[in-house]
């Protein structure tokens, strides 16, 4: 089953900088390389820092666009991984390797199972999956 690992980190306003950034990137590269080698990596991307974020809400048909992430939190979404794992314990073992430390503070990884198993989300496949959720 696929799991998404959401990487939460504390970060400065302009994201990572300097030697710290280098250390983190190397850590991620190691995980991606090992996961690819083992055939479990489906995807992984860093996100540009929260200073580049834009939030969109719709109220009464009107688009409300604001600067910044949807909520002011100490830890922000810094990136994600998607991995194919047998079970939660395997996903946890990978999550433990993913670096979150940023400018001396710790972050965390949120693991979410991904419900729709088909890699191509066709209408019939989605309907079938939704139906099985209600079953």
């Amino acid at each position: 089953m696929r799991y998404m690992m959401l990487v939460y980190s504390t970060e400065g306003p302009d994201g990572l900088a300097g030697a710290e950034a280098q250390r983190i990137y190397e850590g991620h590269w190691k995980v991606m390389e090992e996961a690819t080698r083992k055939g479990v990596l489906v995807g992984a991307e860093p996100l540009a820092p929260t200073s580049t974020a834009t939030t969109v809400r719709v109220q009464n048909g009107e688009a409300l666009v604001t600067d910044g992430p949807f909520a002011e939190t100490k830890e922000h979404l810094a990136g994600y991984y998607i991995m194919e794992c047998e079970n939660l314990d395997e996903a946890i073992e990978w999550a433990v390797k993913i670096p979150t430390a940023c400018q001396g503070s710790e972050g965390c990884i949120e693991i979410r199972p991904m419900r729709w198993q088909s890699s191509r989300a066709e209408p019939e496949a989605i309907a079938e999956n939704v139906a099985s959720l209600n079953g």
């Binding site: 089953m1 047998e86 079970n87 939660l88």
Partner: protein, 416 residues
């Protein structure tokens, strides 16, 4: 027929953990085995009064539950995900006879281990861990668990449903954790068992102080853990701790009123539990370096061995709490250490430590902190400060029996 019912209940309690563990291994889910067990229980209640209690009750239950599983699989065949029903059909097809059931269900000791570790998986919240452990390993019914924790039945039922759904959706595996993960996972299991014990020992709410059935259940689970992982010293330490604390149950409440350890009639302590507890403390210490449960058990052992509270070995108890503090510098342990120091003839020193803890504000909402402080102030004849502290403690305590005790102390102070 109450006899048959209670016989059936006690068999189910004893055996259901083992049986459910095997059923889960075979069909790969929590829901269906549980339903199957509930249905076999109903079937037992219908059949045993007429046909008598079977010679091999566990075998009877296994066969019945197995049959229910097969029936359920057939009914659900069209609705199950393809994966599940395939696994199901290949393993269960045609094996409805008793002999084949026996083989399929051979008691793999690993089964119950898998069950315990899965129920206590850290990805489940603690309330869910407790409920699931009591339901599957403990064989307690949902109403029984709800009653033990003074929760409405639907709340408990929901908790179980959500826990099982999380296990399924997040794919929490039905496995014993690998060696390198075992320490932290085992700590989860021990914490759940001790939580259950504590809920029975010092009930957090309600009108009864002690709920012996919960304590007994926790002890039983502790024994199972020791049986399954005998070389883990802390398992033995935990069991010893629970037995020694449980040994005092008949002396703790007199005429509905709480009696402190100091004032308890020690002739009412359970000697059998004490001797087993003492033996286990020694055994645990021989198995490896002392962990927190073993240290706490050693403290309990010191109380248990002393016929007269005046002869309590407070210096040794204080030393044990110091060791505990090194492992786990928690404010509650610091509180216990302070009390031991005070009781060791150094009331002022103990009080000073408690005041220092008070300044950290961490124990502000903890009624036992205020109760301990009140008690020391009382012994030092600082009555008005003691009274204020008893009032704070009584306001924070949630169990009726403890509140009454604190108010009684308050009234005694006002009389002096």
């Amino acid at each position: 027929m109450a006899d048959i019912r209670s016989a059936a209940e006690s068999v189910f309690r004893e055996e259901s953990g083992r049986i459910i563990a095997g059923l889960i291994r075979i069909c790969g889910s929590f829901d269906r085995p549980e339903e199957a067990m509930q249905e076999s229980f109903a079937a037992a209640l219908a059949s045993w009064p007429i046909k008598g209690i079977p010679a091999n009750p566990a075998g009877w239950i296994m066969t019945a539950a197995h049959r229910k599983l097969i029936d359920a699989a057939r009914r659900e065949r069209t609705r199950l995900e393809k994966q599940d029903s395939l696994k199901y059909e290949t393993q269960i097809a045609g094996s409805a006879s008793y002999a084949q059931t026996e083989e399929a269900f051979m008691d793999f000791p690993d089964d119950r281990l898998r069950l315990i570790f899965t129920c206590c998986h850290p990805a489940l919240n603690v309330e869910a861990q407790v409920a699931l452990t009591l339901r599957t390993l403990g064989g307690l019914s949902t109403p029984e668990i709800a009653k033990s924790f003074l929760l409405p039945e639907p709340t408990l039922a929901q908790r179980l449903v959500r826990a099982k759904r999380k296990i399924q959706e997040a794919r929490i595996p039905y496995e014993v954790p690998p060696q390198d993960r075992l320490p932290e996972r085992l700590a989860s299991v021990q914490a759940v068992i001790y939580l259950i014990f504590n809920e029975g020992y010092a009930a957090s709410s309600g009108t009864e102080l002690v709920r012996n059935e919960l304590c007994a259940e926790a002890i039983r689970l502790g024994r199972v853990l020791c049986e399954l992982l005998p070389r883990e010293a802390e398992n033995t330490g935990l069991l010893a701790l629970m037995l020694l604390q449980h040994s005092r149950r008949d002396a703790r409440v007199l005429n509905g009123e709480l009696v402190t350890l100091e004032e308890q009639d020690r002739s009412l302590w359970d000697r059998g539990a004490i001797s087993e507890g003492l033996m286990l403390v020694e055994k645990a210490l021989s198995l490896g370096p002392a962990g927190p449960y073993q240290l706490q058990a050693a403290v309990a052992a010191l109380h248990a061995e002393t016929a007269n509270s005046d002869d309590t070995d407070w210096p040794q108890i204080a030393a044990l709490y110091e060791k505990l503090l090194e492992m786990n510098p928690s404010p509650v342990i610091a509180l216990n250490h302070a009390v031991a120091v005070a009781m060791n003839g150094r009331l002022e020193a103990g009080l000073n430590r408690i005041e220092a803890l008070g300044r950290s504000r961490q124990l502000d909402r903890y009624y036992l902190f205020h109760a301990a402080r009140a008690d020391l102030l009382r012994r030092l004849n600082q009555n008005s400060d003691a009274a204020a502290a008893y009032q704070k403690a009584a306001a924070l305590a949630t169990n009726r029996v403890e509140v009454d005790f604190l108010n009684r102390r308050l009234r005694q102070l006002k009389r002096d």
